[in-house]
Amino acid sequence: MELKKIDKPDLGLFLQNLIKDFQVEGVKRKGQSVYGQSFFYGSINAPDELCLDFDCTTMPPKKYFIPPKEELLKFTIAPKPEVAEVIESKPLIIFGVHPYDLKAVNQMDKIFSEGNPDPNYLKRREGILLIGVDPTKVSPRSFWNSMEAASVSSGFDLMLTDIGESYLVEVGTDKGGNLLKKYAKVSSVTKEEEQKRIDVRSKIWNMCKKRALNFPMRELPSLLVNSLNSPLWDEKASKCLSCVTCNMVCPTCYCFDVWDDVELDLTHGQRYRRWDGCLASDFAKVATGENFRETRAARYRHRFLRKGQYLFSKLNDAACVGCGRCAAYCLPDIADPVDVFNRLKEAVK
């Protein structure tokens, strides 16, 4: 593991240099809400726009990997049908991604490269450099510590940790290392500083214990298999608005819908995909009218099973990283995985 140090005053310089050569995206402040400052990912055009002491962004950085709406094909209908693939990618640096979101990106990488590799994802992914940052604050609904998402060992090109006067930078990839060499003023790291990083991290990890699973996360698959008929699904889902917010804000939700659009000449067109969510009432509905998950409870349960069991078998890991976004933004407040999983656990005890 290669570890370097950037003094805080030099971080702006690093950023400034990057902005000259790259499109840099990072965390910015949005308006105030009654819960305090909100944050979102957007273009960074000047160093002071970047914010690294955020607790959690409203939306995860998944839009950079899977755009909400993405062209797949361009086509011509007449006189002869013709299609051309559209695979877009542009170099991008995402500056400031928390470990739980990095874990989610790692999962997406796996999902989109295994089985039938998805070139649209992979090509775009190739162009993205990820600069992670350890959190300094914990959002009220986070529970990433329970989800083995407090830190990641890979998936970042660089990983920053705020240790006071400076940031320690862990180099995750050669690309990251080169970036540092070319654009940043770094110095070497002392043993004490290395220890400081450990201390800082364990302090923040401890802060993320307020909300936690009451059992080891790896028990989720068996817990869920045994909870298929729990009355909890109905109880919670009776309030579900089918608003799909929990799917939209989730860094590990990636379902999509595909549809065609044509120009007004009715001859040229595009095939797109767009984010979809399994909580939408028509998600499993087919043309004959049959809906394979007709009830709110069935859809609601599906999401938790998918996170904690179905995808577990694919990923050998829960497809929930504990960011707490779904919990924070679900208006009837029924989507909190901590609450759901703990109550299921209570019930089987």
């Binding site: 797949l72 094909l73 086509f75 011509t76 209908i77 002869k80 049908p81 299609v83 051309a84 693939e85 559209v86 695979i87 990488d109 999902i111 989109f112 490269s113 089985g115 039938n116 590799p117 998805d118 070139p119 649209n120 992979l122 090509k123 992914r125 998936g155 298929l228 990636y254 379902c255 999509f256 819908d257 595909v258 549809w259 065609d260 044509v262 009715l266 067109g269 095939r271 995909r273 979809d276 399994c278 998600f283 499993a284 509905k285 087919v286 043309a287 004959t288 049959e290 394979f292 998950r293 069935a298 599906h302 099973l305 998918r306 069991q309 179905y310 078998s313 694919k314």
Partner: protein, 278 residues
Amino acid sequence: MNHSMPDGSPYVPKWAEISRIEKLTESEKLFELRLSNGQPLGHKPGQFVEVSVLGIGEAPISISSPPINDNSFELAVRKVGNVTNAMHNLGVGGKLGIRGPFGTNFPIDEAKGKDILFVAGGIGLVPLRSFIKFVLENRKDYGEVTVLFGARNPSEQLFLSELEQWRGRKDISYLETVDRADENWKGNVGVITTLFPKVQVDPAKTICVVVGPPVMYRFVIMETKAKGIPDKQIFLSLERRMKCGLGKCGHCQINNIYVCQDGPVLRYSDIFALEEAL
């Protein structure tokens, strides 16, 4: 990140030209197609393709024919929505985009030397036909063959000339029924399960393949159980909403299974415990 980049987009369809169209019923048509690149489709009975009509969209459609020498393949399509309507509006010479074949196939090898009980409900005959015809073409490889076919009423029976042949064949037993008869119908009346008492099977050596509307499965399974056919010898083909055919879009997921990849043909013993499957 380690991965191998595929050559080109899996969303790009190949082109196939319609070489023959046959009207099966008021709402179903059979399309015979050939890939424009002259290649065979390379499918196995039970698999499906994603059919594109540019500007309208894509729909998953089972391949209704067994693999045959002249590289053509057949799709039988019920008109229910945008893509299927647009297909029905095409004529011979029309072009369709094809992706696939996708998914699992019927147990053509596992069933070798065994008896086969085919159970088709309504449009379920469309996918099943590929396997039935495959078996008939390779008749000597298989044991006793029984085909049960149920339609809602006589006018919804598909592939009439083939049914006529099957009725006459000595090397298979073909039984049919309709839920509601009309004045010309002389045969059985009743739901498909009413045919079961009429057939005798050796449960140990019978492979049962069932395709039909979702409601049919539960009742047919009760009958196969009554006959003592083990769950692992029963195969089903499931229908789900699908958008990619690649195991990504999430629509066809049933628990751990992606119907487009792990299905559509599934072994009953693998899915009977799955919530939502049947």
